[in-house]
Symmetry: C2
Subunit: 688 residues, 2 copies
C-alpha cells in the first residue's frame, strides 16, 4: 500500500456532507490527521518545500542548554502525542548533540514556575526538510506554539507517517486570545478545565478567563472569608490547591489564567454568607434560577471596600496573572435606589444615576487592585466617564462599545460575536474581526484592541455537555485572533475545521462522544444511527429562545435532544453549496444530494420505531414527522431537475406548507436545511 | 402513540446481533431503559403485579424520621437520575406526610459519616402498585440497594414513563462483592474512580478494593513517610484529601473501600525513597516495565516492621474499613536467598524455605494490623501453615486455593475467574460460582466464602480505556455474587446485559464512547461506521498473549485497534445461536445472518479505503484482508443451504484455508466469529 506523501484534501466539500451523516453506502471521506493544508490556525507565512521527514522510532529531539521545565515537559508530551497519532514508539527523553531529528533552538528558557506574561513573544520559525526539523523561538512559549504546528503537520505517508518539508514563520496577530468558562452557574470539575486547557493550547489560545463567582455559586475556596464558598456554593467549589493546579497546568501550556469575581452585581452567592455586604436586607439564599438579580454589594459603606481589599489581596497571590476581572455587568441599581442610606450617599457625592455610583465603585476597585499589582478587566457596563484609563474593557454588547473603549483610551477585548451560547455559526465567528476595516480607529487606538475571547456561559451546559458547545467553534475564534486579517476564506476554514474537530478529540475532548451518549439515552438503544442522521439536520436554538422556552435552572438535567444537537453542524454550511452546485448542473452534487436525502428517507422509519418506544424522544414528534417530508421534497425536486418534467401545479404550495410546519422550533432545536431545500424546491417548481 | 406498559423484551436475541453492528437497513431493536425483565442483578424473589405507577412531575417521595444524610442524598440523586432517564422534571426535596408517591420505610439511619460495615443488612422489600411505591429496608444501605432496583424498573409506558407494579423481596447471597482497580501500574485519576463507584452502586457491588502501591508507583500521599509518594510515583499519586473524598463518595453509595499496600514483593516504588527497607543493595529506580521484580522488603530487620507499623497506623486512620489488604503475591525470594544476613536470619529461625520466611512476615503484619484494629487480606501466596486464622485469602490461582483456604478455616474471596484482563466472556464469569456444587465444603466452611471480586489490573489499561475493560462484564460478576445460585441462564443474562450496558452509560461510564474515540483516531475520519462493523467481529487477545506480543510499559499509548476492541463483544455469544437456528431451518435466523454478512461485505471496501489512508490501521492488514472472505463464506454457505445446491468440491478446503489465515492473532485482536462460521461452512459442504 502506497499513498502519496501527506496528501492534501481537495477543497471540494461535497462528499464530506454525506460522510458526516454516516450514510452507509457512501465512500468515506478520509481526512488526514494533519498536513500543510490542515493547519488551524493558519500561520502568518508558510512556504512548502519538496519532500518530507519520516517519523520512525529513530525520531529523537534535542533541547538546548537549560531549556527550563516548561519546554522540557512540553517536548515529552509532544513525543507522547505523536506516538498516539502514529503508533510509532518514540523515546520521551531528549538526545544530546547533533544526531537529533528535531532540534529546538530556544534561548535559555524561563522556568515553569514563571507564568506566561501578557506580552511574551510567541513567534517561532519552523524548518523541516527530508532529514531534520528545526524549531526556533525567542521564548519557550513560542516553541510551544511551534510544537502545535509541527504536530498538526504529521500525516500519513506511504506505509508510515511523516512531516512535510516546509518553512514557516509565524506569530500571533493579537496577544490576548481567550476562552471564558462560567464555573458559577454550573460547576465544572477540574478535569473538564484541564482537557479544555489542552485543547486551547493545541489551537494556540493563550488566556483562560475563569468566571468563578455568580449568583448561583461562589466557586473558589477563600481562606480569608470561608463563608463565601462554604455557604455560597452548595459544596461545589474549587479548593485553592485545585486553583493552583489549574494555574500550573495552564502555565505549562503557555496559557495565562485570568480569574473573574463579578462585582457589584451577580453577587447573590456572596451575600448568603456575608449579608452585611448587601444593599438590601437579607437573609439571602442561593437561587437556582438564572437571570438578572437585584442583589448587589453596597458601595456606600467603607466596609465593602475593606472586605474587597482583603479578599483581592488573597486572590492576587493565588492568581499570579497581572490582570484580574471584576465583572461589573448587569447590576441594575434597583436595590441602590431603594436603600435610603445609599440614596443619601449618592446625593452627598453628587451622583445623579446609579451608573455614576457604579463608576465610583469601579474607581475604588481599580485602586484596590492596583495596590495588589493587578490591572482591572470588566464588562462593557463599566465603561463610563471617570473610569480610570488602565481598566480594560471586555466587550459583550455591540462592537460599538469596543470601539468606544479604544477611542476613549482603554485597552479592550472583543467577545460579543464569540458568545458560544448564541449558537452562531463558525463562519460568523470567523468573519467577526476585532478591528473591522471600517472601524475608524487610529493606529494607536488599534493597538489598544488586545484581541478577543470566546465565552461559554453556563446556564445551559454542564460538565457532560460543555465540550460540544465550545468545540470545535472556539478553534475558529483562535484562528481569527492568531492568523492574519486577510485569512477570510470560509470554505477553506470549514474544510480545515473538519480535520481539526478530530484532532481536538485526540486532546481528550468529549465534543464528539458526548452527544452520542445522549443519543443512546434518548433512544434507549445501542443502534443510534437513525437518530444521528436526524440530528445532523438540526442545531440548538440560541440562548434567548432556549431561555424563553425552557425554564432551566441549576438542577435541570441536560440530556435532551437539544443537548445532543451540535451548534453549526456541517450540513448547515455544506447543503447550500451542494444545492447551488446541483442547480448549476453539477451531476456529482446532484448525486450527493440524492444520497443525502435517501439516507434521511431510509432512516426515518427506523427513527419512528425508536420514537414509539421512547417518550423522551417523542417530545420532538413534530420535527421527526416533518423530516421524511423534507427528504421526499428533496428527492422529488432532484427528479424534476433531472428529467426536466414540471411538477404538478400545486406541488410548490404543498412544499411550502411542509417547510412552514418544519420551521417552528420545537424541543429547542431548529432544522438547518430548510433554506437550501426551499431554494431547490423553488428551482424545481420553475421548470417548465 | 401508545405502547404497551413496560413492554418486555422477547427472549429472542437474533435481531440484537444485527442492531449492534449497526447495519443501516435493519430495524432497530428497541431496548427499554428498564422493566421487570431487565433487572441486573436479578432479585432473590420477584412477583409481578398488574398495572404500573406513572412517573409524572407530581411524583414525590417521603423519607422517615431522621433518615440520615446517606439516605437523604441518595434519594435526591434518585430523583435526578429518574429525571435524566425520563425527561420528567422531578422535585429533589422530600415531601412530608402521606401524599408521597414513593415512601421509604427505614429505621432511623446511621449517619453518612459512618462507613458501611462488612456485615450490614442489605436486604429490602419493594412494593409497587398503580398509585404508590414503598421501599422497606432494615438499614439505609438496604434502601440504597432497593433504589437501584426501582430505577432499573423505570420503563416507557404509553406516552410517558412508569414503574411496573411488583412485589420484590431481595437480599444478597454474598456479603463481599468487589471490584479491584490497580492504580499502581497506571495511575487512575479520581474522576475515573468516582464514575466507577457510581456504576458499582448501580449493580449493587459493595467493595472497592484499591490497589495503591505497585513496583511502578506508590500512589498515595503518606505524611509519615513522604518519600514514599514523592520519590515513588513520578508525581502521580492521590493526596490524602483525595483518598478521603473517594472513601466518602463510596460510603455515600454504600460501598466499602479496602486499600491494598502490596508487601513484601511488588515494592520497587517503596525502595526508591527508602532503600533501607530493601533486601538488596540499592539504589532503586522506578522501572516502567511490568513483571515480577526480585525486589522485596527485608523481613530479617526489626526496622522493617517498625516502619510498617508506623505506616499502617497512618493508613488505618485514613481508611476506616476493618480490612486492609497487604498483597503478598509474587515475592520470588531471590533477594532473600542472596542476602547473607537474611540467610543467617532464616537459619537462626529454622526457616528452610523463603515461603516459611514469608509466613513469618505475614504473622508479623497480621499482628501489626491487629494492633491498629485491622484484619489482613492477602493473595493466595500467603496461605501456608502458620498463617494466623484471621487472615483472609483472596484467590487468584485455581479455585483449589479458595477451597483450601476455607477448609483451613480462613475466610476467602474468589477472584481467579473474574480477572478482567483475561478477556473471558461474561458467560464464563457468570457461571463461575464461588461455591461450586462439587466443592465439598461443609456448611460452616461455605460460610467462610465471603464472595468475590472482579480485578482490573492495569498493565494494559489507562484512564481512557479502563471503562470498556471493566464494563459491562463486572455487572455480571455483580449478579453472580448477589443473585441466587440457581440463576444460571446465560441467554437471559446476555439479553439483560444488552440493556444494562446502556444503563451503565447513564451513570457516566465511558465504556461505549471510549472505543469510538479510538476508532476516529485509527481512521482519521468522522465516518467510522465500517471500522465499527469490523471491530464488532473482534475481541482483544488475553493478558498473556498481549504481554508476550507487545512489550507495553507505563509510557505505552493505548490507542490501538486492540484498545478499541471490546472484550466479549455481543456477536461472540449471538453468532453461534444464529448459526444453530439457521441450520435448524429458521428463516428469520437465516435472514439475519445474511444481513449480517452483507453488512460486512458492504463495509469492507470502505474500510479498505480508510486503511489506505491510515498506516496505524494498516497494521491490522491481515485481519482486514481476511474479513470480506469471511463475509463471502457466510453468504455462500447460506446460499447453498437455501438452494440445497452443493458447493464445488474444493469449496470447503478453500474456506478452511481462509479460516486458518484468519485465526492467527494479529495486532493483538482475535476474530470471535470463526467457530460458528466454520460450523456453517461445514454444514453447507455436507449438502448433497
Amino acid at each position: 500500500m502506497k499513498i502519496p506523501a501527506c496528501f492534501v484534501l481537495a477543497p471540494v466539500v461535497f462528499t464530506l456532507a454525506v460522510a458526516w451523516v454516516g450514510g452507509a453506502k457512501v465512500i468515506a471521506q478520509i481526512a488526514p490527521i494533519g498536513s500543510l493544508s490542515t493547519l488551524m490556525p493558519l500561520p502568518a507565512k508558510m512556504v512548502p518545500q519538496a519532500g518530507s521527514l519520516a517519523i520512525t522510532p529513530a525520531f529523537r529531539y534535542a533541547l538546548g542548554v537549560d531549556p527550563g521545565s516548561r519546554l522540557t515537559q512540553a517536548a515529552q508530551r509532544l513525543m507522547a502525542r505523536m506516538e498516539q497519532r502514529t503508533g510509532v514508539q518514540l523515546a520521551r527523553e531528549p538526545l544530546a548533540g547533533a544526531a537529533a531529528t528535531l532540534t529546538f533552538v530556544v534561548p535559555a528558557a524561563t522556568a515553569l514556575e514563571s507564568v506566561p506574561q501578557p506580552n511574551v513573544d510567541e513567534s517561532y520559525i519552523l524548518d523541516v526538510d527530508a532529514t531534520h526539523a528545526t524549531l526556533t523561538a525567542k521564548t519557550d512559549i513560542g516553541a510551544l506554539r511551534g510544537m502545535e504546528t509541527l504536530l498538526q503537520l504529521v500525516c500519513a505517508s506511504g506505509d508510515g507517517y511523516a512531516i512535510p518539508a516546509v518553512h514557516i514563520e509565524d506569530a500571533p496577530r493579537f496577544p490576548w486570545r481567550g476562552l471564558m468558562i462560567d464555573s458559577g452557574r454550573h460547576f465544572m470539575p477540574v478535569p473538564v478545565l484541564l482537557r479544555t486547557l489542552d485543547a486551547m493550547a493545541s489551537v494556540k489560545l493563550n488566556v483562560f478567563h475563569w468566571h468563578l463567582s455568580e449568583d448561583q455559586g461562589f466557586r473558589l475556596e477563600s481562606k480569608v472569608y470561608p463563608r463565601l464558598h462554604e455557604m455560597g456554593s452548595n459544596g461545589q467549589f474549587y479548593t485553592q490547591d485545585q486553583a493552583r493546579e489549574v494555574v500550573a497546568y495552564a502555565s505549562a501550556r503557555g496559557i495565562r489564567v485570568v480569574p473573574e469575581f463579578d462585582v457589584p452585581g451577580h453577587t447573590q452567592s456572596w451575600l448568603v454568607g456575608h449579608p452585611e455586604l448587601g444593599s438590601a436586607l437579607g437573609p439571602f439564599v442561593l437561587d437556582p434560577e438564572f437571570g438578572i438579580s437585584d442583589d448587589a454589594l453596597d458601595p456606600s459603606r467603607e466596609f465593602t471596600f475593606e472586605f474587597l481589599d482583603s479578599f483581592f489581596a488573597e486572590m492576587a497571590v493565588l492568581f499570579p496573572d497581572p490582570y484580574l476581572h471584576t465583572g461589573g455587568d448587569e447590576s441594575n441599581g434597583k436595590q441602590w435606589r431603594a436603600n435610603p442610606a445609599i440614596a443619601a450617599f449618592m446625593q452627598q457625592h453628587g451622583f445623579k444615576t446609579t451608573e455614576e455610583l457604579q463608576t465610583y465603585f469601579s474607581q475604588r476597585v481599580v485602586a484596590i487592585l492596583a495596590a495588589h499589582h493587578k490591572q482591572m478587566v470588566g464588562w462593557d457596563e463599566i465603561l463610563a466617564p471617570g473610569l480610570p484609563a488602565q481598566a480594560v474593557i471586555q466587550n459583550w454588547h455591540g462592537i460599538k462599545f469596543l470601539l468606544d473603549a479604544a477611542q476613549q483610551g482603554h485597552m479592550a477585548i472583543l467577545s460579543q460575536p464569540f458568545y458560544l451560547d448564541h449558537m452562531r455559526s463558525a463562519a460568523d465567528m470567523f468573519l467577526a474581526d476585532p478591528i473591522p476595516t471600517d472601524a475608524g480607529l487610529t493606529a494607536e487606538q488599534q493597538k489598544l484592541i488586545l484581541g478577543g475571547e470566546a465565552c461559554m456561559w453556563a446556564e445551559h451546559v454542564n460538565a457532560a455537555t460543555i465540550d460540544s458547545r465550545i468545540w470545535p467553534r472556539a478553534a475558529v475564534v483562535a484562528e481569527r485572533l492568531w492568523s492574519p486579517a486577510e485569512d477570510r476564506n470560509v470554505d477553506d476554514m470549514y474544510r480545515r475545521l473538519s480535520v481539526e474537530t478530530l484532532r481536538l478529540e485526540y486532546e481528550g475532548l468529549m465534543h464528539l462522544s458526548g452527544p452520542v451518549r445522549i443519543e443512546r439515552l434518548l433512544t434507549g438503544s445501542a443502534d443510534i444511527h437513525p437518530l444521528e442522521v436526524f440530528i445532523s439536520t438540526l442545531q440548538p436554538v440560541d440562548f434567548g429562545v432556549r431561555s424563553h422556552q425552557q425554564r432551566a435552572n441549576t438542577l435541570t438535567v441536560f440530556d435532551r435532544l437539544v443537548d445532543a444537537a451540535r451548534p453549526d453542524p456541517p450540513l448547515r454550511h455544506q447543503m447550500p453549496l451542494l444545492v447551488d452546485a446541483a442547480l448549476a448542473g453539477d451531476p456529482a452534487a446532484r448525486a450527493n444530494l440524492r444520497t443525502l436525502f435517501q439516507s434521511w428517507q431510509d432512516a426515518a422509519p427506523v427513527l419512528d420505531k425508536l420514537e414509539a418506544g421512547s417518550p423522551i424522544l417523542h417530545e420532538a414528534h413534530t420535527h421527526i414527522a416533518a423530516w421524511p417530508k423534507l427528504a421526499a421534497m428533496g428527492l422529488q425536486a432532484l427528479q424534476v431537475l433531472d428529467t426536466k418534467t414540471p411538477p404538478p401545479a400545486d406541488w410548490l404550495d404543498a412544499q411550502k406548507a411542509v417547510l412552514h410546519d418544519a420551521v417552528a422550533p420545537q424541543e429547542l432545536v431548529d432544522f438547518v436545511v430548510l433554506a437550501p431545500l426551499q431554494k431547490l424546491a423553488e428551482a424545481a417548481a420553475s421548470v417548465k
